[in-house]
């Protein structure tokens, strides 16, 4: 398989790079100063693309690679891949579901606790020596607060299960009601926000869910409500979010994702009711290795004529 060209779109994991290099002719898109030259030179040997949450395979790239057979994403999110064009051309697409579900759900709860109990600010308080001058102020309890989840897929369900252990009543919004689920369904995101103390974004990003958390939703969540985003930056109207936070109309936010990563709105840096993370939802050694194994496994299966491990339906 060493002659099969696999184009990796950006640095994402050195274990993955090593494993791909052992099996295929790995081409690193980001190291080429002239990307169009790279594509032109290798257009007949590139049969696979490996992308992630930052860079995938858009229509232009797919059209520049006539021998492309498979796009294997080092992520569960598919918003950076033009699925329509892939389908039209019969190009297979795989992602990394399940292996990262727990990590993302763990982080969502970790963010809720960090935000409500001000763990990051407490740590800063101690490190700055301020504790010697007086106690930290009161924070907000998490246990028992209502959690509203947008999207009750694998990740949303895992978040609900964890929040239940903190005696939190669970509400959710989904395109349709889930029949076997004991949580309270709300038909609109605004209703969900109105009836929840904590709103968590856990749905896939699509045209329908872009800016699903808009000004109306933020106002419904209110000055005592908090927003947790472990989905995709474009789920939230970021400009409105900044205004809602700086004007005190929203109680707080903990964000792992942003509209234009790694850029984060400047106004958020100084706010003590905001926790900001550099897109680390699946960022553990164990999970990234498992994701890498899935990417490699899917490519190996495809090129040996076997069934794909995690094809996107």
């Amino acid at each position: 398989m060493e002659s099969i060209g696999v184009l990796m779109m950006c640095p994402m994991n050195s274990y993955l790079e090593n494993e791909l290099e052992k099996r295929f002719n790995l081409l690193r898109f980001w190291t080429s100063p002239e990307k169009s030259v790279l594509l032109e030179t290798h257009r007949n040997s590139i049969r696979a693309v490996v992308g992630n949450a930052f860079v995938g395979a858009d229509a232009q790239l797919i059209n520049d690679l006539p021998k492309l057979e498979i796009v294997s994403s080092f992520s569960v999110g598919l918003d950076k891949i033009d699925l329509g064009v892939c389908k039209d051309k019969g190009i297979h697409v795989t992602n990394t579901p399940d292996v990262l579900t727990e990590d993302v759900a763990d982080l969502a709860i970790g963010l809720i606790l960090a935000l409500l109990r001000r763990l990051c600010e407490c740590d800063r308080y101690v490190r700055s020596g301020k504790w010697k001058q007086g106690d930290f102020k009161l924070t907000t309890k998490f246990s028992g607060k209502s959690v509203g989840i947008i999207g009750l897929g694998r990740i949303g369900t895992a978040i609900a299960k964890r929040a239940e252990a903190f005696s939190c009543p669970i509400n959710y919004y989904s395109r349709t009601v889930k029949p076997d689920v004991a949580y309270k369904y709300y038909p609109t995101v605004v209703d969900l926000a109105k009836n929840s103390d904590i709103l968590v974004v856990a749905c896939p990003l699509s045209d329908e869910t872009r800016h699903i958390v808009n000004r109306q939703v933020m106002d419904a969540l209110g000055p005592k409500g908090v927003l947790i985003n472990i989905g995709r930056g474009p789920h939230v109207d970021e400009q409105e979010l900044v205004k809602a936070l700086t004007e005190g109309r929203l109680g707080g936010a903990a964000l792992d994702v942003f509209e234009k990563e790694p850029h984060v709105p400047e106004e958020l840096f100084g706010l003590e009711n905001v926790v900001l993370l550099p897109h680390v939802g699946s960022g553990t050694v164990e999970t990234r290795n498992a994701m890498a194994d899935l990417v490699v496994g899917n490519l190996e299966a495809h090129f040996s004529g076997k069934s794909l491990l995690t094809p996107v339906v």
């Binding site: 727990e102 504790w131 010697k132 009161l138």
Partner: protein, 326 residues
């Protein structure tokens, strides 16, 4: 028939220091028609002079951790009949002296056990997933410059050893079970009704754990319970979370282990000499520090106020204390 109204002398309850909750809740924190609060902190006099100045004796005292109820303090309060602490821990109360003088003691019960358990879990996730460190990274504008942040460690399937399975320890355990952690515990006595593996010896538990969460009380047996041997058993990837009392951990040894990479990280809400924190810890990214505020949520303190009032009212109506210690 005539009715005679009595000017009842209400029991006087001494409040030595201004509690954090009073700053937010005001006098409603501990308000009752059945007793009177005497606020020593509002007087410029030193406590002995303040007490000598009172016309009516003090029969109860509200004792936060910052106000140790020592034999000396008890001597200043000859009419003292009840001590009510604002903490679950009573290591700051001379129980021997209280017993000798027939003084009843009540604690905060599980008023804020949930809050402390929540913080313990929050600190554990923070250390394993580097939340505070990564938040600093972003807020210092380093993300566009330095690219990806170093990977953390998965919480699922980690073996967590809970030291002390009281109300806080049990709540920590049930929360962490939902994350797929494997729970074991060490306690004075085995608890037959719990599903977790029991260890009589903390060091043995440490050698079979990825993290220890300290939830036990501080007493003679638990002072420096977490020592060099336990840290060695916990190992280079091991994490310690302490939401109990600083004295349970040999702090100097812990600092040395952290600096030399002998253990993997720590989440600490309590220290041996608060508010002093070893400044060597400030250089470490795998440590999350908290100023003894695991219990201070607004809701937890409202609940604490109810328990304080409930205990005092019950005592002076000759009813059983809600959360008796002695």
């Amino acid at each position: 028939m005539t009715t005679t109204s009595f000017t009842q002398v209400l029991p006087r309850v001494l409040f030595v220091n201004r509690h954090a909750a009073m700053g937010v809740l005001g006098d409603s924190f501990v308000a009752s028609t059945k007793f009177e609060i005497l606020k020593a902190f509002e007087s410029p006099l030193l406590l002995p002079e303040f007490l000598a100045d009172q016309s009516h004796p003090v029969s109860a005292i509200i004792a936060p951790v910052a106000v140790p109820v020592t034999a000396d303090l008890i001597r200043l309060l000859p009419n003292l009949r009840l001590v009510v602490t604002t903490s679950t821990g009573v290591d700051h109360v001379d129980l021997v002296e209280c017993r000798r003088r027939g003084i009843s003691v009540a604690n905060a019960g599980s008023s804020y056990s949930e809050d402390v358990a929540d913080t313990a879990v929050g600190l554990l996730i923070d250390v394993f997933r580097r939340i505070s460190a990564a938040n600093r990274f972003v807020k210092q504008r380093l993300w566009p410059l330095k690219g990806d942040y170093p990977l953390g460690s998965k919480l699922g399937r980690k073996r967590i050893g809970v030291v002390g399975l009281g109300s806080i320890g049990s709540m920590v355990a049930t929360r962490l079970e939902a994350f797929g952690c494997q729970i074991s515990y060490s306690s004075r006595n085995r608890k037959p009704s719990v599903p977790y593996h029991y260890y009589m010896d903390v060091q043995e538990m440490a050698s079979n754990s990825d993290a220890l969460v300290i939830c036990c009380e501080l007493n003679d047996k638990t002072f420096h319970l977490i020592n060099r041997d336990v840290f060695a058993a916990l190992g280079k990837q091991g994490v310690i979370v302490n939401v109990a009392r600083g004295g349970i951990v040999d702090e100097d040894e812990m600092v040395r282990c952290l600096r030399e990479g002998e253990i993997g990280g720590a989440g600490l809400d309590v220290f041996e000499d608060e508010p002093n924190v070893p400044k060597e810890l400030f250089e470490l990214d795998n440590v999350v520090l908290s100023p003894h505020c695991a219990y201070t949520s607004l809701e937890g303190l409202e609940q604490l106020g109810k328990v304080l009032v409930g205990n005092i009212e019950a005592f002076f109506s000759n009813k059983p204390l809600l959360t008796p210690v002695l």
